[in-house]
């Protein structure tokens, strides 16, 4: 009920459809490797075959449409965390796009040769990262931070609040402490327009350290002040 505004937003727009930051391949995608010399028309490498399937017609990279197609092939929703995990493992630079280099290096490293093998690799990564107490692992921490930076608009230091809410829902395993309440808090505090990196990163620690009943929260502590407000909100409701 809370998240209707977010849910109703077309996923494409939320994550992949920001036309304004579609970078031109020439020059402004920093980590893109130099154009690979034209490969033989038919390649035997399954990874490359996949790339060819999903890539854009006019650019040498996979774009939002391709990613949607990939999701279909893998039989997952585009909002599935596995896509984000994929982006993480591919070290993707730009949201909505995978360069040839990112794809071939990353997917090969995952040892996947087809959408189905890819999806099962991602699924096992997912359970490694997020099940049980795995959210306290360094790997998850890295993934969690990546998710924020990846979702930012280029050049911005912060992430707008709707993206924050959606990201929380995707990245955090269901039932993770404080997520639900925080989303409630953000919903009822429209003055909060976005998160900065410090606030995002701190939340992970907050969710692990601070009990659900908030009994061990120290208001004089070093938590970013947004969490002071969050706690005040919770004690009132």
């Amino acid at each position: 009920v809370l998240l209707s505004t977010v849910e109703q937003m077309p996923l494409k727009d939320l994550f992949y459809g920001r036309k304004k930051d579609k970078p031109a391949t020439t020059g402004s995608v920093p980590a893109a490797p130099p154009p690979v010399p034209p490969k033989p028309a038919v390649s035997k490498d399954p990874v490359v075959i996949m790339f060819e399937r999903y890539k854009e017609s006019d650019e040498d990279r996979i774009g939002p449409e391709g990613i949607l197609l990939l999701c279909q092939d893998m039989q997952i929703e585009p909002t599935d965390v596995k896509i984000l995990i994929l982006a993480w493992r591919l070290n993707a630079e730009t949201q909505g796009y995978f360069t040839r280099g990112e794809w071939t290096t990353g997917v090969s490293a995952l040892r996947a040769d087809s959408p189905s093998s890819l999806v099962s690799r991602l699924a096992s990564l997912d359970s490694q990262l997020r099940s049980g107490g795995a959210t306290r692992s360094p790997a998850f921490k890295e993934f969690y931070r990546f998710a924020f930076r990846f979702s930012r608009t280029m050049g911005q230091k912060g992430l707008e609040i709707d993206s924050v809410k959606a990201l929380l829902m995707i990245v955090m395993p269901p039932g993770h402490p404080h997520v639900h309440k925080l989303l409630e808090f953000l919903e009822s505090t429209p003055t909060i327009r976005g998160f900065n990196e410090d606030q995002w990163t701190s939340f992970l620690l907050f969710s692990h350290e601070i009990k659900e009943d908030l009994s061990n929260f120290d208001p004089d502590g070093a938590w970013p002040s947004i969490y002071d407000d969050y706690v005040t909100f919770c004690t009132k409701h």
Binding site: N196, D198, S202, D220, G221, A222
Partner: protein, 619 residues
């Protein structure tokens, strides 16, 4: 042992009856006992002796207490103890460790220690009453007796500090006092004097009393947000040569100032002025918002300097010196700059005057003397940007002349005329020739009514000008002009007449010279340039500005600390930053936290990856 029983009865005896006892006999007995054996002495004599004494004094003290007021009780106790010490000293072996002392202690404990709270709180005669009535001798005695028992001194210190706090609260929270800055400060100065008097006369200048009452004063002064402004206003009054009399609405002030224990009296001689200013600075020290004080002091000083209202430059400088010692060079740098400007301006004016004499004075036939002050922007409080309006020809001539002169001397500088801050001495011919000091705008308007003035189209004395015409001729904004006309036509000195004779100035009004004008004094001023207390809106605005300025100061402190420590945990950082800033103001922890977050966002700091409450400096 019968001998012991005999000694005891002899001991106690004299208290009930005035019977001479044979002290020598008594002493011989105790000494013999002591020689026989220390433990025998202790067990068989001293112990029962102490018990007897305790019972005796427990009973006596209760009886005394019920029957007597606190000071009378204390007198009795003092006498009693003196007797007891005397007896103990002459009759008991004194080299027995703790013998004399511990016996004294029993008496002291029974007579004083057990009853100290009761005494202090005794209705109608306890500590509060003694302080109110300035019973210095009783207080002295109380202090002397109380310091002999454990916790006695402390109890007095705390209660005296509490008394101070209560009295202080009464002063700062009284609406009458809040309405009159001078009265407010006077009352506080009186209280301070009173407390100092007690500490000195009754409590032997004991440090603990001073410290605790000072803590009370800190609390008192920071209860009312306008204390900084009021202290500055009071000082302003004294620096102008005001005698410290309160404004009309508070005659009661002088009645209470004659009360015993705190008289401020008239402030007339230089020594008195210096003394009262020093006392004001003592109050200043207790302020936690010293930056607010700085702001007001600057504004008030500016007015004094610009309008030559200071009684004595030396006194002004002394105050600056005191502030510098108190708060450091930074605090007073701008104030000193203001003084420098005034001094430099005098030189500039002299040189200009000489130059003028050589060239232009006789030329135009009208002699306009210019008194000029050149102010360095940045030292002086910012004023609303001044309007540009048209000056009468002769005034404009000298203005232009000065500007040329100055810019010639100082190439590359820029002069912005603050006409609104200035004033003009005008000779006005009505029934007599008056000499009137008025703000520049007033002069500009009045000059239009002269022959040959803008509206005078052959009219001479009968010139009538509408508001619109005046507006056009002078270039003043309508809102500003309305205020000027209000002052010229409707206030105390009606130099002009207004048609129609309504209370408000309208755009369609017409003005003429008020031929019927007369005044008792030939020389007078048309505007009051004394510093006055701000309206509530102005106060809010000042406060907002100060708050704004504090943000960057907190940032600077944080960065300074982090730069030198490289890494620091949250609590330590808060403490350090507060310490750094405390000579100016006391930052709220919440504010510091927000600024830290801002600095993290701007990448001056980061959180440590290993512990979230540790910050690291980003080089």
């Amino acid at each position: 042992m019968p001998a012991i029983a005999w000694s005891l009865s002899n001991w106690n005896g004299p208290r009930f009856r005035f019977r001479l006892i044979d002290r020598n006999l008594l002493r011989s007995m105790t000494f013999i006992l002591f020689e026989i054996g220390k433990d025998i002495y202790a067990e068989d004599f001293e112990k029962p002796f102490k018990e007897e004494m305790q019972l005796f004094y427990a009973y006596e003290s209760q009886a005394f207490l019920e029957a007597n007021s606190c000071p009378d009780y204390l007198k009795k106790v003092e006498a009693r103890l003196r007797e007891e010490y005397d007896r103990v000293h002459s009759c008991l072996p004194s080299d027995y460790a703790g013998g004399e002392g511990s016996i004294k202690q029993v008496a002291e404990h029974e007579l004083i220690g057990k009853h100290k709270e009761t005494l202090v709180d005794k209705d109608g005669s306890g500590l509060t009453r003694l302080l109110e009535d300035d019973k210095v001798d009783d207080l002295k005695r109380m202090y002397d007796l109380f310091s002999r028992v454990r916790g006695g001194g402390e109890l007095l210190e705390d209660r005296v500090a509490l008394f101070c706090l209560e009295k202080g609260k009464e002063i700062v929270l009284s609406t009458d006092n809040q309405a009159d800055p001078l009265l407010y400060v006077r009352k506080l100065l009186e209280l301070k004097e009173r407390m100092d008097h007690f500490v000195k006369e009754a409590f032997k200048g004991e440090r603990a009393f001073t410290n605790k009452t000072h803590r009370s004063f800190s609390e008192i002064l920071n209860l009312y947000a306008r204390s900084p402004e009021y202290i500055s206003l009071a000082m302003d009054n004294y620096l102008r040569g005001g005698k410290g009399s309160s404004s009309a609405g508070s005659r009661g002030g002088s009645a209470s100032s004659s009360k015993v224990g705190g008289t401020l009296g008239e402030v007339v001689t230089e020594e008195q002025v210096e003394a009262v200013l020093e006392k004001c600075l003592q109050l200043f020290r207790f302020l936690s918002e010293k930056d607010m004080f700085e702001r007001y002091y600057k504004q008030h000083l500016a007015k004094r300097l610009l309008y030559d209202r200071s009684q004595s430059e030396e006194m002004e400088r002394k105050v600056i010196q005191m502030l510098k010692t108190e708060c450091g060079y930074q605090f007073t740098a701008k104030l000193e700059g203001m003084f420098k400007d005034v001094g430099t301006s005098k030189d500039v004016q002299e040189r200009f005057g000489q130059l003028q004499q050589l060239h232009e004075r006789r030329e135009s036939g009208q002699i306009v003397d210019l008194q000029i002050k050149v102010l360095t922007t940045g030292y002086w409080p910012t004023t609303a940007s001044s309007q540009v309006y048209r000056l009468p020809a002769e005034v404009e001539a000298v203005r232009g002349s000065f500007e040329r002169f100055y810019l010639n001397q100082h190439n590359g500088r820029k002069l912005t005329w603050q006409l609104a801050q200035g004033s003009a001495d005008v000779k006005a011919k009505y029934d007599k020739v008056y000499q009137i000091n008025m703000p520049t705008q007033h002069m500009v308007v009045l000059m239009l009514f002269n022959e040959g003035g803008a509206g005078a189209a052959g009219g001479g004395e009968g010139a009538t000008l509408t508001l619109a015409e005046i507006e056009k001729a002078t270039g003043l904004s309508q809102s500003e002009l309305k205020r000027v006309m209000q002052s010229l036509a409707l206030s105390n000195f009606k130099l002009l007449s207004k048609e129609p004779k309504t209370k408000e100035v309208e755009a369609t009004d017409k003005f003429t010279v008020n031929k019927g004008f007369t005044n008792r004094m030939i020389k007078f001023k048309m505007s009051v340039v004394a510093a006055t207390k701000e309206t509530n809106e102005e106060h809010q605005a000042s406060r907002a500005k100060i708050q704004e300025d504090r943000g960057p100061q907190i940032d600077a402190a944080i960065v300074r600390v982090m730069k030198s420590r490289k890494t620091m945990n949250h609590n330590d950082l808060m403490v350090e930053v507060t310490k750094q800033l405390q000579s100016r103001f006391t930052p709220h922890p919440g504010d510091i936290k927000k600024r830290i977050e801002g600095l993290i966002g701007r990448e001056f700091l980061t959180r440590s990856t290993s512990a979230m409450n540790v910050y690291e400096y980003v080089a």
